[in-house]
């Protein structure tokens, strides 16, 4: 499984907050996603109704998942394709490697796939003498940097153009060192030229899948660059990496969810390229892959079915919850320490790697609720974060000081008179300390907060006191 630093969340955050480049990238470019989505949403009056239908489609699929999986598999075979089931990342990697070996592959091109990250495929291919080349521009950049994506759909969102320029100069040493790369289009043009040859020379093309259609045995990819299409139509072999919850019943159902996907992700009405692939080359086909393989990965997803966490399997990986999350926008995606960052990552990661390995993540939330508000699949993310916190508490995963603190708070909260007295004293003391400024630079036991920002001081009265005064 992919290298993890989920347990180091706090250290990761401290580093992220002190990283000027990251902070610049996040504050400059993060908010653009929000404006784009708002615009797309306002232009489509039916948007919220489509979200309801999208949710219902996936709920129906999850309730009948066994039948849909069987049907899908039969349809893929009917169309001449192959399905490889994998319970674990190990099995998935082995299946991919075997297909590549049979094809005598030296180099594989890759479209963007989060499952590839989840199973840490590139490392495995490299160790076995096969060169993987990421072709999505963002993925290509982070591959050059030996990093993980920091965002589900914008893997290099944490970087600035001068960082990309430096990487291109470091790696593309066959090009004129005096070339001008100060503008973004020059960087894109260079990547286009370098990758064009890779597409043409690759032996195998590997893509992800946004959806799998049971009706027809079809996989769908959605891109803007066209890289996924060049990846899958030029080599002899196309491998699709998918997880079992990607199933939808029909073309119509896929269409409905596609209508909310791009709008939620990039604010586009529709992505530039939406591609439906079913099996390999047909008689008379002059191009396209000869072989078509689908890897169907579980990796812990079945353990979520039938639990209070099942709704997370509706996720279509649009990234809207990341874009709208105040925590994500402050610390970036790498701080989350594994493959899936942001609010949905904080829900998914504990399910896939175990809460004991990710106990900080459900706490990386202000519970502002925007993630749920913008989720096209209406996933109740805050509710599930709370469930994880409960699990964390039940399993005694928090540090002793935190459990003590909670115990003390519970003791007070159950004794209203004592609670009111104590909070009144605290409010007065803090208010006196902040006299004239309204803010506190340091508070005992709260350095975790005050190291990065001031604490707004109470006005001198508690909520209960104010409530009493103002109630008619």
């Amino acid at each position: 499984m992919t290298e993890m630093s989920t347990t180091a969340f706090k250290d990761n955050v401290t580093r992220a907050l002190a990283d000027d480049k990251l902070q610049f990238a996040m504050t400059e470019t993060g908010p653009r996603f929000i404006a784009k989505r708002t615009k797309a949403r306002e232009a489509l009056p039916e948007f919220d109704q489509l979200r309801d239908q999208a949710r219902d489609i996936k709920d129906h699929v999850l309730d009948h998942l066994d039948i849909y999986l069987e049907t899908y598999e039969a349809k893929v075979k009917e169309a001449g394709g192959h399905v490889h089931w994998a319970e674990t990342p190990d099995e998935a990697r082995a299946a991919v490697l075997e297909i590549c070996r049979k094809a005598n592959a030296k180099m594989v091109t890759k479209g963007k796939s989060m499952i590839s990250e989840e199973i840490d495929l590139n490392k495995h291919l490299e160790e076995n003498g096969i060169t993987p080349v990421e072709t999505d521009l963002g993925e290509y950049i982070i591959q050059l940097r030996n990093e993980r994506p920091s965002h589900i759909i914008a893997p290099a969102v944490h970087l600035t153009r001068d960082q990309v320029e430096a990487d291109f100069r470091r790696v593309h040493t066959h090009l004129d060192p005096k070339r001008d790369l100060t503008e973004i289009p020059a960087l894109v043009e260079e990547a286009r030229a370098v990758l064009r040859q890779k597409y043409l020379n690759a032996d195998v093309g590997i893509t992800g899948a946004n959806f799998l259609i049971a009706e027809t045995g079809t996989s769908i990819i959605v891109t803007n660059e066209g890289n996924g299409d060049l990846t899958q139509s030029l080599p002899k072999v196309h491998i699709v990496l998918a997880s079992i919850e990607k199933l939808v019943p029909t073309l119509e159902d896929a269409t409905t969810i596609l209508r909310v996907l791009a709008r939620s992700a990039t604010g586009q009405d529709f992505s530039n390229y939406t591609t439906f692939s079913t099996g390999g080359r047909r008689p008379g086909d002059p191009d396209g892959p000869v072989e078509y393989h689908v890897i169907l990965l579980d990796n812990g997803r079945t353990s979520v079915l039938g639990t209070e966490f099942q709704d997370m399997l509706r996720c279509i990986r649009c990234g809207a919850c990341l874009n709208h999350c105040p925590v994500y926008n402050a610390v970036g995606g790498h701080a989350y320490g594994w493959v899936y960052p942001g609010p949905i990552g904080s829900v998914v990661t504990p399910a896939l790697v175990g809460i004991e390995n990710a106990r900080h993540l459900p706490n990386a939330s202000t519970f502002c609720g925007r993630c749920e508000e913008v989720c096209p699949m209406r996933i109740p993310i805050p509710k599930m974060l709370r469930h994880w916190r409960e699990k964390e508490f039940e399993r005694h995963l928090q540090p002793t000081s935190q459990r003590w603190g909670l115990g003390l708070w519970a003791f007070m909260a159950k004794r209203p008179r004592l609670y009111r007295k104590a909070t009144a004293i605290a409010a007065r003391v803090l208010s006196n300390q902040a006299v004239g400024k309204g803010r506190l630079k340091k508070v005992p036991l709260a350095s975790g907060w005050t190291a990065f920002r001031d604490l707004p001081a109470p006005q001198g009265k508690t909520f209960h006191q104010l409530w009493k005064e103002r109630r008619p």
Partner: protein, 222 residues
Amino acid sequence: MSAREMILGRVRARIPRGPEGARREAVERRLAEHPRNLIPQRGQGDIEHRIRVFTEMMLAVGGTVEVIDDINEVPHHVAVYLRDGNLPARVRRGADPLLARLPWHRGGTLEVVEGPAVDEDRASVTHAFAGIAESGTIVQISGADNPTTLNFLPEAHIVVLESAALFASYEEAWTKLRSLMGEGIMPRTVNMISGPSRTADIEQTIVRPAHGPKNMHVIIVR
């Protein structure tokens, strides 16, 4: 036990299960009937409306559109488009019968070659299976008539779209596809294309092209 059986076994053990027959029937019915869900109003209307919305949406994503009345004028418009774009007067197409029938000599010096795309091709012309007004989208299906690589390798992609195939929504294209292929059967590849290739992966700044065509030009034949 195989991974397949393990996974299916776990799914069955965990999901709420009513009578098995009823569950299967629910799935089979949905797949056989493939009911349409909500379809947005945006694209709905007569052909003039559909052309208007399609054009608006295609322009918004960086493509271009022209509307002509006579299909035999296509070669001329292709030649003019290439000339105006400073591209060589050479275009690649597939075996599509409609494209094959066109009077290509009317394109003047225009050279027309047939087959799947190769790296050197600068321009291609394809015959669209359908157009979708709702989002300014072209639908292409794979095969010798319009090889998939024509949609991606050349830097200029010219598309001929007959107005009879310009639908309001994707759903109508699915209906047309089922009547061509049969229920539950797809061509190897169906490409929905909305404008030329783009990326916003560096600083959220939109740049065209990324890896695919730089220009997409749709000729709607009324």
